[in-house]
Symmetry: D2
Subunit: 355 residues, 4 copies
Amino acid sequence: MSNQELEELRAKVDEINLQLLHLINKRAEIIQEIGNIKTKQGMPRFDPIREREMIDKIRANNNGPFDDNTILHLFKQIFKASLDLQEVDNNKKLLVSRDRHPEDTIVTVGDTEIGKKPIMIAGPCSVESEEQVSIVAKSLVEQGVKLIRGGAFKPRTSPYDFQGLGIEGLKILRKVADNYGLKVVSEIVNPADIEIAPEYVDVIQIGARNMQNFELLKAAGQVNTPILLKRGLAATIEEFLFAAEYIVSRGNTQVILVERGIRTYEKWTRNTLDILAVPIIKQESHLPVIVDISHSAGRKDVAIPIAKAALAAGADGIMVEVHPDPPVALSDANQQLDLNEFNSLMTALKKANFF
Amino acid sequence: MSNQELEELRAKVDEINLQLLHLINKRAEIIQEIGNIKTKQGMPRFDPIREREMIDKIRANNNGPFDDNTILHLFKQIFKASLDLQEVDNNKKLLVSRDRHPEDTIVTVGDTEIGKKPIMIAGPCSVESEEQVSIVAKSLVEQGVKLIRGGAFKPRTSPYDFQGLGIEGLKILRKVADNYGLKVVSEIVNPADIEIAPEYVDVIQIGARNMQNFELLKAAGQVNTPILLKRGLAATIEEFLFAAEYIVSRGNTQVILVERGIRTYEKWTRNTLDILAVPIIKQESHLPVIVDISHSAGRKDVAIPIAKAALAAGADGIMVEVHPDPPVALSDANQQLDLNEFNSLMTALKKANFF
Amino acid sequence: MSNQELEELRAKVDEINLQLLHLINKRAEIIQEIGNIKTKQGMPRFDPIREREMIDKIRANNNGPFDDNTILHLFKQIFKASLDLQEVDNNKKLLVSRDRHPEDTIVTVGDTEIGKKPIMIAGPCSVESEEQVSIVAKSLVEQGVKLIRGGAFKPRTSPYDFQGLGIEGLKILRKVADNYGLKVVSEIVNPADIEIAPEYVDVIQIGARNMQNFELLKAAGQVNTPILLKRGLAATIEEFLFAAEYIVSRGNTQVILVERGIRTYEKWTRNTLDILAVPIIKQESHLPVIVDISHSAGRKDVAIPIAKAALAAGADGIMVEVHPDPPVALSDANQQLDLNEFNSLMTALKKANFF
Amino acid sequence: MSNQELEELRAKVDEINLQLLHLINKRAEIIQEIGNIKTKQGMPRFDPIREREMIDKIRANNNGPFDDNTILHLFKQIFKASLDLQEVDNNKKLLVSRDRHPEDTIVTVGDTEIGKKPIMIAGPCSVESEEQVSIVAKSLVEQGVKLIRGGAFKPRTSPYDFQGLGIEGLKILRKVADNYGLKVVSEIVNPADIEIAPEYVDVIQIGARNMQNFELLKAAGQVNTPILLKRGLAATIEEFLFAAEYIVSRGNTQVILVERGIRTYEKWTRNTLDILAVPIIKQESHLPVIVDISHSAGRKDVAIPIAKAALAAGADGIMVEVHPDPPVALSDANQQLDLNEFNSLMTALKKANFF
């Protein structure tokens, strides 16, 4: 007997489900109409006062069995869905998302197409001298690497640490790169410097500590030079994509994302490389993703397996620090490869058919 | 003109809102009826097959503008709310929650009522000798402290670290405590030892590493001895309350919760004391909450301000490690107070009217 | 017999210990002399090439039983200690440290002396309108609060979120504050704006996302306006102090530090308030420390116990978001207190004798 | 002139360096002698009282320029190095370390040699019925997989969640596995069950929540059945290796380590897969390392790239959850692959030559 009763009740639930479905969609249609009117009038979509009114009316009419909080939670979900729908309609979906732009973005630097096949970006942590940069550049050319990195403006935790050679460092990089037919990747830290940066660098790096320096991101969105944006020390993947959106939404679509590890409690590595972020970002976004194996691990003894893992996970390239004599480097001595170690890394990656 | 149009559309939305409200609540009533039938028949409330069926029907009937994912997300919220409602009906709301038991639980140990006014639990990290424990016990009595803690079974990261004196340690604690009129708090680590523990200890401690050792929790739920449960190294507040629920749901309602810091990236402290957890747990649960100032900070130079902060935040007590000669302690040498430091702490807390 | 042998061996160890002590100190003296010469010549203290040489010689002469790595580790400790000693000699010890400046720094804003007795900074998350700010200002004055906070430049995760009213917002703040005799605290995000900020604000806030925006810190070091510096989302205490050092070392000694919670895995709070940081920073530094109870918790139901805990831990003040109608706020709706809640907070803190 | 002076001072420093080197090593030799005597007498190596004495003498004789704290820090490093040296001498270096056992440990389960070439372990999160397990088993056999996993004892956060079928579940696993020629991997949670487990399972799993349940580890060390040990939710790599040491030091050398992600602030994944841990553990230890791609990601859309990354990083195998109908699974519905998805994963890994 009760089984029959159960079936009858379930049929009622199914019916209500369909009525709810109908009403929710009908509601969405009206909200779309409202949105269109608002767009014509230049009014913002989200109107907190109006939402308040609706909430008050709903609460006043709630007779249970759900309590007010549950009801308001459910309606907020419905409101939010409607708002999201408007955003889709209005093409406000993120420009960096694959939904908006299904094809991979290819960032072209000289004759290198980042996003097409894996690339290597290598060079010293800091630019120290023309000689130092030249030695590394020579090694890079021998290995077929096209992009050299080097820090001229170094954001350092302590004001008393080596802060980089500044413009002088950029000039050294440019000169050496031109001598060896390389392209330059280097960090810019002040919004005011973004405009002159293209004179010296081919790719402007925005460092982890500046990932949410929104003024710098906005400035980066106003040049045509490709931007290499590093994930913040403790940024979520979502925040990382929003940071890229700041750049892209201002017109510069040439953005390369760099996973460089996140801060955790683990002590045997400098950071924890978030390898899951690589395929997730590739899925969510059309921008190329590169893995910085130096800052993530902070130790060079696992460079080869980690570079392989990054490329196997779908990364569009590797970024690594190389120094002619790491123990005397002015910064990050422990994590920079020497030239032999760099050659071994390249050999291993070529042997595994990644390059 | 369009403002009038806007008003008309808004009126329609308000109407639909109320229809939705009505249907959602009506749906909930039917689900309650179904729940009652199921209860009679001893069937589980949640039926994934049935949920599947409903989802399939809804999806088949969705004509937009919402896409299927949005619709299914909204319905899952409604399903979940209905299920929660049933759980409330069926008194499945957590036993540790204040909703179920609005009055504070008072845990009585000897003549100490934990949860009524702030208490102090102090003693050495590890029981090393009768002499060591006696020296501490004497100090405790002089300060009016009633509960002595000391580790006999020490869960240590390395199998080669001092593992505690075991039963021998419990006997020392019992003897000294009886001599000085104190009550004993000590950790038990094996479910098989829970039953005999009350012979030696007045409060069974379950340590941070065992917070999700569910077999130990279940065993602890089957004795009458009060349980002092420490938050796991990286447990959420929610997981902490669920761990307590394992004990309480098996019949032992005498549970004291201990916030002892959580693992973060910060290097200047052993753990990060989650002070927010204190008022949040007090609000969510009726169980007493104590703060372990030794394991959270891992340094004793901030013992006084932190103890004050914990009590100001509403904690029901403080737990602290005290050793006659910390530099020679067999474990946790850096974080144990010596007797003078302990006296200073007690004096400071009394002066601030916490005791 | 072997006990006598043991004693003899121990005597030898003691003798060697004293020889080591003598040599280590003698070495330090010579290093100091070298340092003095270098200072005269304007050479940097740390010379990696020279360190390399020493390491090579030591390694070449090591015959065990310690292996090279252990020996090098021990010598690096000795080198580092010597370098630290030089830094002390050269007054390079951090300017923000209490070792350098034992007395508390008092930051004076109007007639408020921050660092002397606890203060309250309150106001809306974002400046939305003159009316909104005025309503809050009136409440502040009634409660005896002297500093109003409000965001005009809002660093937001998404470029599509409300970014604040900008200069217009600063003008509103200034006007309302002047009407009510209040002082203004507001965030500046672009180094280029630091110079004009004092026209509108009495305290320049540097937000959590900009704690390591070193260009902004440097600019903040070059004005006389007090700076309120928030701890980064995942900054260590050490990094926080170094960030303050960037400002102080450029000449602006009026810095207020704000603990605002750090990012952890916990989901029931927006951030985890690191209460231990309060007494630790007070111990390490002479700068005043304030606790932001809104951003740390991200929920207002625990505002009172957390404010009490912060002050009991030694904080020099509380910062809290207050909005006339939080549910319609353009940002952070969940964590802002309404006026009644703010009055309750003030009443509770006055009753507990904190104000 | 001062350059000559500099050279002379540097020569003195070099001389002192060599004297320090000599004394430190000489000291170590005496400590070794003392250690030998202690070993004969069965005395513990570390003697805190004696260390105290030495410290007191050193402090009494320190005349600077180093302050006492610096001196004591340096001597503690020397003491610690000496103690470490003794531990090496006494073969107390961890049994799980590659220093102790340079060759890879191969764990043999039936005709599968784990640690030799990559393997796959697959199966449902929970054992629900014989039919369910059989469907999965059939798929496994078709793909050449030899080990089936399935949970019979489920450690669940809430006491009201499905706790598994218990012994009944183990019987189902055994029966199905025997029918299909598979080997069984299943979790045991109570030390008391370890002894009977081999009757049903071929590999005993110890779950993440029990990684520091030392009583369970000790019990696992006393059987001959291979143990699959998962890394704790927030365990460091070092703690993970120590947990394995608990098992191996009690005689069971057949231990497989499983990296399954660690808890971080990231919200788009259930855990953060610590890919760096794979090559680091392989370097530090001789034990095989497997990556659980289900619990780390908590989402199945990135299963293929993550499995490739894990194997490219040097993992000895992959562990993945497979269910005939994930949406109706009694646990972890979102992260289990269905049979088609599992087949795609196997095809992708075979095509990439990992299997």
